[in-house]
Amino acid sequence: MLAYITRRLVYGMVTLLALSVIVFSLLQMTGGGPLDRLKLNPRMGPYIQTLTELWGLDQPAWKQYMTWLKNYTSIQEFGLQNVLPVLVTVLAVGATVLLVKLVKAQWKGLALVGIWAITLFIAISNTTIRFNWGTSFSGSGDVWDLVFSRAGATFRLGLTALFLALIIGVPLGIYQAVRQYSFFDQLGTIGAFMAFSTPIFIIGIALQILLALYLERWTGVKLFYVTGMNDPGYSDMSMIGKLVDTLQHLILPAVSIALISLAGYARFQRASMLEVLHSDYLRTAKAKGLPRRKVIVKHALRNAMIPVVTLVSLDIAFMIGGAIITESIFGWPGIGRLYIKAITEIDYPLVMAIVMVIGLGLIIMNIVADILYGVLDPRVRYD
């Protein structure tokens, strides 16, 4: 298992390196540059020259890439705030050794991921670390700060949407499969296709108009806000006020993302469940006289979850990159919005940083998904 994870991590690093080369090349090939907007001012020549030299834009592309890579991987600042990072790392190593020897193969991977995720969280929370990701070409400041100042908002939105999609989508799919061709199944299928086929910006705008604009006009009560993550007076609110305000701002963007993911999960879960429900081993379970609930929950669901796990793990990674369109529509201050801004302004350091964060997220979530397969399906081995 450890060897497998290590191997996947190494492959992941190579993939990231390849990704960085491709994206950097694409940025160079697209034409134009970050200083183009200044060119249309006839008197900006000397200033453009100053910035060109300052940012190394006068260097050949390969040199610019190497400089970026060197900076990107170099730690600018590092320090431990206390001994906790060391302590949890030692504990995690010990736990890993024990797990490898004691725990049943199928749970080992998940336990390891869990332990190291918690370890990393504690370690990072108690460490001052900062990579030299450079300065934004648009003048927005340090790229590391920019990306991580937006990460919280993106996680808040993404995880809420994921939570909504999972708690509704998966049971919906199961129920549809169990009641195949019923009225509810047909309704669910129609709903899923509608959600799937509607562009997210239409869903977002429609939710704004219906639930934030007209609902207030109809009821006279402001239940949801059109845009923003919090009220500008948020810091002065009481705890309850803060919670209500957060929900009032969060629900619409989260629902607009969740609707599409939810439809996907429901469809996948339904198809997968139907396949499992018609399998021989389940017929055997039924024939043995097991209760229906037990047949579905214990025997069918576990196998039927495998395709959904892939979908969910990829979704999480994309959410790290931010629900780009949703964030723009709802004025949500997340990474996705920053990404659009960076691309528009041809801000190389920022675009590269965000792409690499998304890439890293995808790689990690793929590894997590592979490990979860082993948990859900004992036949999967990591040799």
């Binding site: 034409g31 249309l40 020549g45 003048g139 509810f184 704004q208 109809w218 923003g228 529509i329």
Partner: protein, 615 residues
Amino acid sequence: MGSTFERWTLVGSVAVVLALVGASCSAGEQGATTTTQTLVPATSTTLGDVETTTTTEPKLGHSYGGEVVVADDQEPPTLNTYAPGGDNFIVSIIGQSYWAGVQEIDGYTLELVPELVTGLPTVSNGGLIVNDDGTMTVRYTIRDEAQWEDETPVSGADFQFTYDIIMNPDLAIDKTTYADIVPESIVVGPKTFEYTMTAPTVLHELLFRWILPAHAIDPATFLDDWNEKMWPSAGPFVFEEWVQGEHVRVVRNDNYWKTDPETGQELPYLDSVLFRFIPETESIINSFKAREVDVIQPPPNSETINLLQALEPEGARVEVLSGPVWEHLNWQFGPRRFERNETSCNENYNMRKAVAHTIDRSILTEEVLAGQVEPMQSYVAAFSPALSQDAWEQYDPDVSTAREAYANAVEETGRSCSVVFSTTSNGDARVKIAELFVGMFEAVGIPYENDLQDSSIFFGEWLDAGTWDMGEWAWVGSPGLSGLVGIHDIFDPEGPPPIGSNYYRWGTSELDASEYEGDNAIYAGSNESSVKDVASDRFAVVRDEMNTTVDDQELIALINEAERILADNLVIFPLYARLVTAAVWADEVGGFKHNPTSASHTWNMEMWYRTDREG
């Protein structure tokens, strides 16, 4: 169990649909009764059986307090105007609240007016002195009452400090024009500042737009950390916070030194102004409709304007004005245009004339700007409408004149002349124009083709290389004579890329490519203009004179002549000025007056007040 659940689901769905239908009906009724608020307070008095209603005079003066929320689709990259990215428009929109400088733009006259100084320097008031040695001295007298938020008076030392910061070689700040100041010539007084420039130039107007407080800034960290605190304000508001991705809030400067000229009240009226960043236009409009924001400056397309104007009965006010951004048609006179169009005849005046008479600009403004403005008859109007001679009025749309000119062009060049039109493909307006051109050229019989390109390539590559035939893009006008003088640099026959911005290559000569490297060598080797004549020679002289003339009347005469040369020779063909729109909930916010220039709609935010607090 399943069937019971399904039954309830069905019942529930029907109930929801019915509720929505019911709600829609009641909303329609509610929407039909719009209440109009009056700004004039009325009092009712009952005297026995007779009820009389007397209308009291509006109270002179305005209430203090409250907040106004301004929405914008851009978030500033920085709040430091001198840092890279500080030239973004949104930085200026927010900066109006805490910056102050030599001058500001009056939103009513669209002229430059003094801000921190008692008067703008001119030859006649002695603020500008052309010296015998060919230099020019500029003298400012600072207002006695001008002070920073901490009550430190604005002084000549602040001007000196600003100059030193800008000219600091370690700081990547635009030093254009400041470099023409002779450092040794600077004379600093408590309320005066004087400097000498190497040559007379009206570009002194561009200097000292934002003054820095010498007592509060460490030059070593000047470009680093101002986004979290901002330097002391000399404007009506003080920076309070910037929540990245969400908003910037500014709060009242209790020590602001201006008063309302009409009421004599101290300014500003508001407690705070909140700038919210909402990237999507639809969302900005929805936020406005939901009254989550009070002031917006949406894109000026006809659909948006109509949508906002429909809110006027509810209390909104929409202001649509001609802005400073002017679109123009142009021709490439350099040799690389043939890469785009082998049968380009741009060098031939009759060909350009044929194009000018082919294009019906009123159709363009009708289709693109919903007929809100007239076609532009001169680029000068984008800078100073009063100075415009409308020199392009001579090229009215006329199919027969266009045909005749085209026939002459074909005969004179011996080529089957055609047009390949290029512009950016990103914006709806330009794409629409390209589509409209197809029909217009077809009607005249001029072979025509569209070749649009993404803006990053069009501006990033084609412009420098001169690889287009007939193009369209925009320049930005600015009030004051300096803007008008500056814009003529783009036609400078001695300034093709890579040394200048004459992308059209009108009247230019080949640069020695061996003196340049990389792309610059390519650009330098593609500058030999096909039009170098008496007109371009004369223009070069006029432009040179303009750059060293500071007397207003002499300068205006030169500007008039330059306009005539460019129009009579059809070097460019102005199309229209883009609209600038603003909308405000006038039943909640008073004192708002839109400003289409770079001063933006926040130019007089110290005068804004909450009308819902009045009375």
